[in-house]
């Protein structure tokens, strides 16, 4: 093998210009493969992250289940309700027969006629430490759990502040990261400073303006509530509530619960590992919570489990009341929308990659044809050498392998250069054109293997031609 390789290298150096041109062709082909797969992978990863970002990974759990009647959703009341969603209004007295009626109307009628077993409502069970413990330890694919509490607290009258009431929002240590808080000024209390027990709070930018107009940085300022001096240690870019007449201050959970004299949570937020597991996790949470609250089968849930997109709706500027009214339909719509979007984005990504891969395959094939060309020329030019080797005892396979090794050497050398070129190309597209790229070692290995395979595929015909020469004829050739 080593001898074959040395023979191949020598043969190639005898035809330097041709070999270099072939190497060029081959390396462009391989570089194309590397660039294309890098771009394709980059694009796909970007698409995946977009899908991830758009899809719900957040589940909120709220106590109580007082959704208005007439909404059809899992675990909620379906015993009331008039015409179904999607129904086309048809005048029952217009003389049209049943057959022409909208299918949805018929379904709705059927539903009205069937007796749904009566279910009973349960009083809300407060969400507390038991629920947090269950969510943390018993639900798969949960990466973070954060309880929160919210309520109004009176500001001590001697404080000299313009506001007499503040809305205290208690946040769990995991929350700032989950909600993507950024400290604009000062800092957000971390687990260590929370444990220290100093009453530290953070506020939003506009709240700072409201409480201390024109006074600049609020850091270090105090808000006395129930005899506790709350110290502002940070300003965050938290989304401001649209109807926030009362300024909101964010306090660590324990502090907030003390201030509000509560030991339960208004809401527990859970983050799942990925979009794919969110709905499964939500179902599991519902099941486990029912067990925990010991709810009989013929009763409704005494809590609400909602995915991120739904709870995000109000802050998107829609009237919360309206949102609640279309709640159940929206949930399905959101999910379907998201799935559709994910599907079409993935499809687009795949098409893009396939298109590029096609171009890469063509340029690799062109490189391969180059290899074939130089090998055919080489076989023709060295017919006498082949005849000599045969006369000296080379078998058909020996000749075949010699030329095949030569072709593969050429192709893989081109492949190595191509890997380097492709890598540089990817760097240029990434830093020069800001395209997303991704390189994996497997991909490089694959590109290299493709180069070697090209050498074999396009080298086999010339090698066979060499091996099949008649030694008598070959020896006579000039």
């Amino acid at each position: 093998m080593g001898t074959n390789l040395r023979m191949a290298m020598r043969a190639l150096t005898q035809n330097k210009l041709q070999a270099v041109l072939t190497l060029l062709g081959m390396s462009v082909g391989v570089a194309m493969v590397v660039i294309v797969s890098g771009l394709g992978r980059g694009a796909q990863m970007r698409i995946e992250s977009q899908i991830e970002a758009a899809g719900p990974t957040r589940i909120t759990i709220k106590p109580g289940n007082l959704t208005p009647p007439g909404m059809s959703s899992k675990g909620q009341d379906t015993s009331f309700g008039g015409e179904a969603e999607g129904a086309v209004s048809i005048d029952p007295y217009s003389g049209k027969s049943d057959a022409t009626l909208n299918e949805a109307v018929q379904r709705a009628r059927a539903r009205m006629e069937t007796k749904t077993p009566t279910k009973f409502r349960n009083p809300a069970t407060p969400l507390g430490a038991a629920e947090i413990a269950m969510l943390t330890s018993e639900i798969d694919d949960v990466t973070a759990v954060a309880g929160s509490v919210e309520g109004n607290a009176s500001v001590d009258s001697d404080a000299g502040l313009r506001m007499r009431v503040v809305r205290v929002h208690g946040f769990a240590p995991a929350w700032p990261e989950m909600d993507g808080w950024k400290a604009l000024e000062g800092e957000i209390p971390d687990a260590a400073s929370i444990a220290a027990g100093t009453p530290e709070i953070v506020i939003g930018r506009s709240v700072s303006e409201k409480l201390w107009p024109g006074e600049g940085s609020p850091i270090g300022k105090h808000i006395p509530v129930g005899g506790t001096d709350l110290t502002v240690v940070g300003v965050i870019d938290a989304p401001e509530k649209t109807n926030a007449i009362i300024p909101t201050v964010y306090a660590p959970l324990d502090l907030a619960q003390t201030l509000l004299e509560r030991d339960s949570f208004d809401q527990i937020t859970v983050r799942t590992a990925s979009v794919a597991v969110t709905s499964k996790a939500a179902e599991e949470i519902t099941k486990k919570l029912r067990e925990l609250h010991q709810l009989p089968d013929d009763t409704f849930d005494d809590f609400r489990v909602e995915s991120q997109s739904i709870s995000a709706l109000p802050s998107m500027g829609t009237n919360p009341g309206l949102v609640r009214a279309v709640h159940s339909n929206t949930a399905e719509l959101e999910r379907a929308n998201w799935e559709e979007m994910a599907k079409s984005l993935r499809q687009a990504g795949r098409t893009f990659t396939l298109l590029l891969a096609g171009a890469a395959a063509v340029s690799l094939a062109v490189g391969g044809v180059g290899v074939m060309n130089i090998m055919l020329v080489s076989v023709a030019a060295r017919t006498r050498e082949i005849g000599l080797r045969m006369a000296l005892g080379a078998r058909t396979n020996d000749v075949m392998i010699q030329f095949l090794v030569e072709a593969i050497t050429l192709a893989t050398l081109g492949g190595l250069i191509g890997l380097a070129l492709g890598w540089v190309g990817l760097l240029v597209t990434e830093y020069g054109f800001h395209w997303a790229t991704a390189v994996s070692p497997w991909m490089l290995l694959l590109a290299f293997a493709l180069a070697a395979a090209t050498g074999i595929v396009f080298g086999i015909a010339p090698a066979r031609r060499a091996a099949r020469l008649d030694p008598v004829v070959a020896l006579k050739s000039e």
Binding site: G2, T3, L388, M390, A394, T396, V472
Partner: protein, 245 residues
């Protein structure tokens, strides 16, 4: 036991509708240690004979035994092995690979011998063969740095390297001047005398054929004459002197 035994060897080429009878039934035995010169004008069939003797081609009919082994119906790869082990070729055009040292050229047959031979052993055997032809000091010279006579001696070393039973020399002096021709013929004679190697020489020059111990004349694909010969060393010199003079 003869090294070569041909029995009624015929070779017929078909060119379109014409059949060309290159060999019309050749029978002959060559004993070990003979130096046989085969002479004949071009077209006499001596080249075809040399291809068959060299196992490069198969006869249309007849039997060819080399070292008592019938090789007339072996497959291509089996013939390749026979060529590798038993036959050393010396060609008119030397056929050395360019940009390759003398030693590497001599090593080529060893590359194809089975079982596979290690690089060190190959090199040692190549060096020994080069010493036999008196080129031990030129082993690392590139083949194109050598004179014609030296190149042909490298080719002879290459023919020797696998210790064949037979060296087939096809017009070995065709590309050489008279003085170098004599030189090369002396090397071949020397091989026969010192190592007892059987040599079959094909030539159209009577002066060169005269170095053999037996001269076979071929004409129109058949043996015209087959005579023992007293090889002359002295005679060649005056001939050369005449030609040079």
């Amino acid at each position: 036991m003869p090294v070569i035994s041909l029995k009624d060897i015929k070779k017929i080429y078909t060119l379109g509708d014409n059949e060309v009878h290159a060999l019309r039934g050749i029978s002959l035995d060559i004993e070990a240690g003979e130096f046989v010169s085969i002479v004949g004008p071009s077209g006499s069939g001596k080249s075809t004979m040399m291809h068959i003797l060299g196992c490069l081609d198969r006869p249309t009919s007849g039997q060819y035994c080399l070292d008592d082994k019938d090789v007339s119906s072996l497959s291509g790869d089996e013939l390749a092995d026979i060529r590798n082990k038993r036959i050393g070729f010396v060609f008119q055009g030397f056929n050395l690979l360019p940009r390759t040292t003398a030693a590497e050229n001599v090593e080529i047959p060893l590359l194809y011998s089975r079982p596979v031979m290690g690089a060190t052993e190959r090199h040692e055997r190549a060096m020994k063969a080069l010493e036999v032809v008196g080129l031990g000091d030129r082993a690392e010279h590139g083949s194109n740095q050598l004179s014609g006579g030296q190149q042909q001696r490298v080719a002879i070393a290459r023919a020797l390297v696998n210790t064949p039973s037979l060296i087939l020399a096809d017009e070995p002096t065709g590309n050489l001047d008279t003085k170098t021709s004599i030189d090369v013929m002396h090397v071949l004679q020397d091989l026969r005398e010192r190592l007892g190697i059987t040599i079959v020489l094909i030539t159209h020059e009577p002066e060169i054929a005269a170095y053999g111990t037996r001269i076979i004349t071929v004409r129109d694909g058949a043996i015209l004459s087959d005579e023992a010969n007293v090889p002359h060393e002295g005679l060649a010199e005056p001939v050369a002197a005449q030609m040079l003079g």
